[in-house]
């Protein structure tokens, strides 16, 4: 329903977004994830119509809304935006805020719709109140209700949780996903927090320096990152040096691992292999030993930093917390790489 084709956004001589393409299906919740300054917010603003694109195109339901020569103004796009600061209108009651986008709806229906929205966000009795009388979490829900009220084709959420307390975020994220799914509304969110992204989104795009590296499910980003940046940004893990010995096999300090048929490396190529904490299992029987360099207790699990011969970077291992070992001890490890992720090694 939403398609971005190679869009570019420039501010003067600075290119903020460089050839970004993606597509979002009807009812899907998408998310643009990346560190600040990566261009994710510019992309969102371009979709909303607050920025012009320098090249490429944006289509909504097959209709062109932005290109170098076309720019449908924001009010004609049928998209609603939820902002970081909520942007509730301080001089209007909550009901009037929610009704703001309903100016084409007849009066009676408008009331009904406002009430339905207030029910939806679980705050049925606050219509007469004013924004400054509500808590941050309530304001957030009202902002969402206001955005949903006109039944937009697409909802855009710009860092919607960043001005809220950490413990409130997860709960709200779940609520918002529930509400969006209930309304069958397509949405695109922008955030720098991968946990928020994982909590809400069906599909996530990782951006860096104006480029979209990967547009994929959370599972895909974690297990099949297409770039070193994505591998590094999503989850934790380390890259250890390896060599392609056979077409189907890579050798590294943790042993030899089988490769699937498709990869672009030649035999003898020097690569780096991604090893995630859950790839390494604690196994006392294993002949391969590692020394514990550091440990972080995480309740059900303990994250160990391990020194392994042949790797100059410490490996990470997430072990159930009953495997309690002290720093300096050695224990056996077993490596299980279900999908081997490799990148070319800089020589």
């Amino acid at each position: 329903m939403l398609t971005l084709n190679d869009i570019q956004i420039r501010y003067g001589n600075v290119t903020a977004v460089n050839y970004v393409s993606l597509s979002l299906k009807e009812g899907q919740i998408g998310c643009l994830l990346g560190p600040s300054g990566c261009g994710k917010t510019s992309t969102l603003r371009a979709i909303a119509g607050f920025e012009h694109v320098a090249s490429g195109s944006i289509e909504l339901r097959g209709a062109l809304v932005s290109s170098a020569s076309t720019h449908i103004p924001p009010e004609k796009r049928h998209m609603s935006v939820v902002f970081q600061d909520f942007a509730l209108f301080p001089h209007m009651s909550i009901a009037d805020n929610i009704a703001f986008g309903l100016h084409t709806v007849p009066q009676e229906q408008r009331h009904a719709r406002v009430d339905a929205m207030l029910d939806l966000i679980g705050l049925p009795n606050i219509g007469e109140r004013y924004p400054h009388e509500l808590s941050g979490g309530q304001q957030q829900r009202v902002a969402l209700a206001r955005a949903l009220a006109p039944e937009p084709d697409l909802i855009l959420l710009d860092e919607p949780f960043s001005s809220l307390d950490a413990d409130l975020r997860e709960e709200l994220a779940k609520d918002i996903r529930r509400i969006l799914k209930h309304q069958k509304t397509s949405a695109l969110m922008v955030t720098h927090d991968q946990h928020e992204a994982f909590a809400i989104a069906d599909v996530i795009g990782v951006m860096c320096d104006g480029a979209l590296h990967q547009w994929d499910s959370a599972y895909g980003l974690y297990h099949r990152p297409v770039s070193r940046f994505v591998a590094d940004f999503i989850g934790s893990g380390v890259l250890i040096p390896g060599v392609i010995t056979e077409h189907h096999q890579v050798d590294c300090c943790l042993g030899q691992f089988a490769l699937s048929a498709q990869h672009q490396f030649d035999k003898g190529a020097r690569v780096e292999v991604l090893v995630r904490p859950d790839d390494i299992e604690h196994d006392d029987k294993s002949p391969q030993k590692a020394r514990i360099l550091n440990r972080m207790f995480r309740g059900s699990h303990i994250m160990y930093e391990l020194g392994v011969e042949g790797s100059h970077v410490p490996l990470l291992c997430l072990a159930p917390s009953h495997h309690d070992h002290e720093v300096g001890e050695q224990f056996g490890i077993k490596t299980d790489l279900a999908h081997v992720v490799m990148f070319a090694r800089a020589s």
């Binding site: 003067g12 603003r45 909303a48 119509g49 607050f50 012009h52 320098a54 103004p73 924001p74 009010e75 004609k76 796009r77 049928h78 998209m79 609603s80 935006v81 902002f83 970081q84 600061d85 909520f86 942007a87 509730l88 209108f89 301080p90 001089h91 209007m92 703001f100 986008g101 100016h103 084409t104 924004p131 400054h132 009388e133 509500l134 941050g136 304001q139 902002a143 206001r146 955005a147 006109p150 855009l156 710009d158």
Partner: protein
């Protein structure tokens, strides 16, 4: 580059730029005067009077800026922070000097303080001194001009400062207290820096008024740029050199404006925090309350009450002859033109500031900056600067009309109310823009975006979000323009249509004929008519600060 092309093809921006260009015509006209340069006139000016013009204009503007800051900040601080007996009366008393034109207060104080006036007469009666036995400071001096102008211009600072002070959240002061910071340190380190943009804006407005003042300095015999412009134009008969002098004055003001903008850029903040609590006013006891009351009473006492009493006394001498149906017509004319100008100017200011905010292009920001310059141009210069383009437009329309109908249409723009409104727009747009921009700061850009994405057109965003949220600032802008137009003199004098006199024109004509006593009636009427909006303004500000 791309951006500029888009700016020109976008109808909104195009219209606003065109509007800006129209409003800038007098400025263009005076800067274009440099096309012809007469060395002999300039070397004469440079040898004789130019340094006086520069030094006196600068001293006057800086003096008035500082004076307005001191009076405005002190009173605003007391009014924003403390409750005391009589505070409600002061609430509107403090704004009354706005209704007092600087040239009238200058005439009045001269009458009060000169040798034959009540003050010196009383002094002599008490002491038995004669002339030469004592020295009495002369009000008709640069210091005197700074004093009387500060007395009527401080409300610009006061209004903005009071709003800024009362909007500062209580939590800030509590934070300071918890860190063991004294009240005095808190004021210097937190309160003042936070209010700085408002204070500087107010002071800049007062300075621009001082740069543009003609009536006061002329009467006090101080050589400034404005008197120099008239002297060069009328005395030397050199309109071009006069225009060149005007452009130098304009440049001074431009620098003032740029400095003001720069000082604000560093602190650009919107109100964060959703439920901030304004500080509650502290109740003062009898002694301290009385001290606060009398301290705040001083500026309106000298800036309004005393001069009004003097004017009132003079008016009793002449009211029988001055009060006729002509006088009623004067009052109605003044009211009509001030109201019309307030509506037009505020509408233009809204369009321009809104366009700037919406498009954020350097072109439109520059546009707003340049049209604000008009505030500093003396009314006469504006009037002459628009006579030319209006005359040209009239000739063009008539040529067109003649080619269609074979007859002449007559003057459409010159010598009509249109010309007056045009001049007032140029002169007072800055007042409206300043007020509205500072109010606009309260509306975050994401509110605009939220409204737009909810299907609101720019016009609807203006109508439903900005205007209601800006109501207080728009109202103060309108009222300030109303009062300013009521007092405006030189442009009205030059551009008004036949048989169209205003109170300001009448009182000036009489006063400049040195018939001060006869001028008192219309002067008092200006003050009284101006009181109405000033009182409304007080109520608007109060309501805004309570919210």
């Amino acid at each position: 580059m791309n951006q500029h092309i888009r700016a020109l093809t976008d109808p909104w921006q195009g219209a606003l730029l065109l509007l800006g260009a129209m409003l800038c015509t007098p400025i263009f006209v005076i800067y274009f005067s440099w096309g012809a340069f007469d060395t002999s006139v300039w070397s004469h000016l440079a040898d004789t009077v130019l340094s006086d013009y520069i030094i006196n204009s600068l001293l006057l503007a800086i003096g008035v800026g500082l004076g307005a800051l001191v009076l405005g900040t002190t009173t605003a601080m007391i009014m924003a922070r403390y409750n005391f007996v009589g505070r409600r009366i002061l609430n509107w008393l403090l704004l009354l000097p706005l209704a007092m034109p600087a040239y009238i207060i200058a005439y009045t104080y001269t009458g009060i303080l000169d040798f034959m006036g009540p003050v010196q007469s009383a002094l002599r009666d008490i002491t038995g001194w004669g002339y030469g036995d004592y020295t009495f400071p002369d009000i008709r001096s640069l210091e005197g001009a700074i004093l009387v102008m500060s007395l009527v211009l401080y409300p610009y600072v006061y209004m903005l400062a009071k709003t800024a002070f009362s909007e500062q959240p209580a939590s800030l002061y509590q934070a300071s207290q918890s860190m063991g910071v004294t009240k005095y340190q808190h004021f210097l380190k937190v309160t003042l820096p936070l209010a700085r943009p408002a204070l500087i804006t107010g002071a800049a407005l007062a300075m621009m008024e001082a740069f543009a003042d003609y009536g006061t300095v002329q009467y006090f015999g101080i050589s400034t740029f404005t008197t120099g412009i008239f002297r060069t134009w009328f005395g030397l008969g050199d309109g071009i050199a006069a225009a060149q002098l005007s452009s130098v004055l304009c440049t001074f003001v431009f620098v003032t404006l740029v400095l003001e903008k720069m000082s604000r850029r560093k602190i650009q903040y919107f109100h964060q925090g959703q439920n901030h609590q304004s500080q509650t006013r502290k109740q003062l006891g009898m002694a301290k309350g009385a001290a606060a009351f009398f301290l705040c009473l001083l500026p309106p006492l000298f800036g309004f009450i005393l001069p009004s009493i003097q004017l009132g006394y003079w008016a009793t001498l002449t009211y029988k002859t001055a009060w006729d149906e002509q006088f009623t017509a004067l009052v109605l004319n003044s009211l009509f033109i001030a109201l019309a100008a307030a509506v037009v100017v505020v509408t233009l200011a809204l369009l321009l500031t809104y366009g700037k905010r919406l498009k954020k292009t350097p072109l439109l920001s520059g546009n707003v900056g340049v049209v604000s310059l008009g505030y500093a141009i003396p009314g006469t210069v504006i009037a002459v600067g628009i006579l030319l383009p209006l005359g040209w437009a009239d000739h063009a329309i008539n040529a067109l009309w003649k080619s269609w109908t074979g007859e002449l249409l007559g003057l459409v723009f010159s010598g009509t109310v249109f010309a007056l409104l045009f001049a007032y727009s140029i002169r007072f747009l800055a007042v409206a823009i300043h007020n509205i921009e500072s109010g606009l700061g309260r509306i975050t850009p994401s509110m605009d975006n939220a409204a737009r994405s909810l299907g609101a057109s720019p016009i609807r965003v203006l109508k439903q979000i900005h205007i209601p949220m800006l109501r207080a600032s728009v109202l103060s802008a309108a009222l300030l323009v109303f009062v300013d137009v009521l007092k405006e003199l030189p442009a009205t004098l030059i551009l008004r249509p036949f048989n169209f006199n205003t109170l300001a024109v009448r009182s000036f004509e009489l006063a400049s004929d040195e018939r001060l006593v006869d001028a008192a009636m219309p002067a008092l009427a200006i003050v009284l008519v101006g009181l109405v909006p000033v009182i409304l303004l007080t109520r608007a500000i109060d309501r805004a600060s309570q919210r």
